[in-house]
């Protein structure tokens, strides 16, 4: 049962990711990316990582992609017609890089053994995650928040300079 659900979700995820890359209409790209994120959230939930699943939907599907959609709709991004490729090397380079990443991921995952995780397999992962974040990983946590703040200020500076 669980395996069947996993394969179904994985198939939908891969398919929607392909549509997100290949479709010519930018709005459809964003929408199918939402479907991909939902599928990822489902796989998180099936691993017992319920907090991650919720956060995935809340942050990626709910907040970031709404902004993407907002920008695409506001700027009225044109529907890309099929044949024009301004830089042909992009395609070759992209395919090469994607193949390299896929191969690397494949070798990594096939060499993976079951490891003991710090988080409880089932039950309340939120508390455990919180303790890890403000306990052992406090420095990294704070560093990430500073990086995000810097990005925010940088974006403001860039926008203000135009006027």
């Amino acid at each position: 049962m669980e395996l069947a659900i996993f394969y179904l979700v994985a198939a939908v995820a891969v398919l929607s990711a392909l549509v997100a890359v290949a479709h010519r209409n930018p709005v459809v790209n964003v929408l199918s990316l939402i479907v991909t994120f939902f599928c990822v959230a489902v796989t998180f939930a099936m691993q017992g990582a319920d907090f991650l699943a919720g956060a995935q939907v809340l942050i990626y599907a709910g907040a970031i992609l709404v902004l993407f959609l907002f920008v695409v709709m506001l700027l009225g991004a044109p529907v890309v017609s099929g044949e024009e490729t301004p830089r042909p090397i992009q395609k070759t380079l992209g395919a090469f890089l994607a193949a390299a990443v896929a191969a690397g991921a494949f070798f990594l995952f096939s060499s993976l053994r079951e490891t003991g995780s710090n988080l409880p397999a089932a039950g309340n992962t939120t508390r455990a995650l919180g303790r890890l974040l403000v306990g052992p990983h406090l420095f990294a946590f704070e560093l990430v928040s500073v990086v995000l703040l810097a990005a925010l200020v940088g974006a403001l500076v860039l926008v203000k300079r135009k006027h």
Binding site: V27, F51, L58, G62, T126
Partner: protein, 342 residues
């Protein structure tokens, strides 16, 4: 196993039935309430006090011609109302409607009138679903391929993103105080004192943000009829339009139920212990629905009392008013918790 599935199905049926009943009742309350506030009579021809008016409305909408304009983006045009209703209705499975201790159905404990009692991330689930509720409106706006619709959709997405921040920050205070994402724990934590008392600021921010999140006046900029005709649903007719109407009322009910659960003590009465068993179930359900009913009336009351905001005023209120207030509330709760006052 089968008994548990049957119980979940029963709970789903009860709650879905209740949700779909709230919609016609609320349309009636809204129209009669508006008439009352404006010193008119309102619909009073169909049935006693016009009570059958919603039925007449539904029949009219069902039999109207379903016009699909030639220039719409077809798939998304049909998908948008479905998304709106689906998201609105599926938020309900984590809200505890009533107490259910000491009740056994088919030999399995009932564990309260809540569809998913084992979901550890109740509040997170609700916030996640409310954050994707914007897609229904945005898609309707974009797929209609009409400038008024598009503007309505854009306004609504900007508005929802802004007010979601304030809402989430306000909810964080409640989570800090109760220490769990599970809504049943949040309710039990308020046995002595409702969260609305120590966190009045947070409650206020939550309520204002709730009006914005449900696109209700004074924040219904997405469908401002005097500038945008009807905003995102200009091109929708018949049941597609009705689907958006339904999702609006279901969303109002969800937000009211959430406000009751997070701030008004859920199904509890202050100072009165609700007994176990079936009597307790009925009593606590009545208490819960009374609180939700009051908040729903508040939605109608405010709609017909306050004029609509201007768009820049809306944004200023969200970013410069509500977010600092929510942060202040969070600070107060943290300090109070650290000092052991709460």
């Amino acid at each position: 196993m089968w008994a548990e599935i049957a119980i979940s199905g029963l709970k789903l049926a009860v709650i879905a039935g209740m949700l779909l009943t709230v919609v016609p009742v609320m349309t009636w309350v809204e129209r009669r309430g508006a008439a009352f506030i404006q010193d008119r009579l309102g619909p009073n021809r169909v049935g006693p006090w016009g009570l059958l008016q919603p039925v007449a409305d539904a029949v009219k909408l069902l039999f109207k011609e379903d016009v699909t304009p030639a220039h719409v983006s077809r798939g998304l045009y049909f998908l948008a109302p479905a998304v709106a209703v689906f998201v609105a209705a599926s938020t309900f499975i984590v809200i505890p409607f009533a107490k259910g201790e000491g009740i056994q159905v088919f030999g399995v404990p009932l564990r309260g009138l809540i569809v998913a009692p084992d979901l550890n991330i109740g509040v997170l689930y609700l916030l996640a679903l409310s954050s994707i509720s914007v897609y229904g409106i945005v898609l309707a706006g974009w797929a209609s391929n009409n400038k008024y619709s598009l503007l309505g959709g854009l306004r609504s997405s900007a508005q929802l993103i802004s007010y979601e921040l304030a809402m989430t920050l306000a909810v964080l205070g409640v989570l800090l105080a109760s220490g769990d994402l599970r809504l049943t724990t949040v309710v039990e934590h308020q046995a002595k004192l409702w969260n609305a008392v120590p966190q009045f600021l947070g409650f206020l921010v939550f309520l204002v943000a709730a009006f914005a999140e449900t696109n209700r006046l004074p924040f219904d900029l997405a469908e401002a009829e005097n500038e945008l005709v009807a905003g995102y649903h200009v091109e929708l007719s018949s049941m597609k339009f009705a689907a958006f109407m339904m999702s609006e009322y279901i969303n109002m009910t969800t937000v009211s139920a959430l406000a009751t659960t997070l701030y008004l003590g859920g199904w509890q009465l202050p100072g009165i212990a609700i007994p176990d068993g079936w009597l307790g179930l009925v009593l606590s359900f009545a208490v819960f629905m009374a609180k939700v009913g009051f908040l729903l009336w508040l939605f109608v009351w405010v709609r017909w009392t306050l004029p609509r905001f201007r768009y820049d005023q809306l944004m200023r209120l969200g970013w410069k008013g509500l977010i600092p207030l929510a942060l202040l509330n969070l600070l107060w709760v943290s300090v109070a918790l650290a000092q052991g006052w709460l």
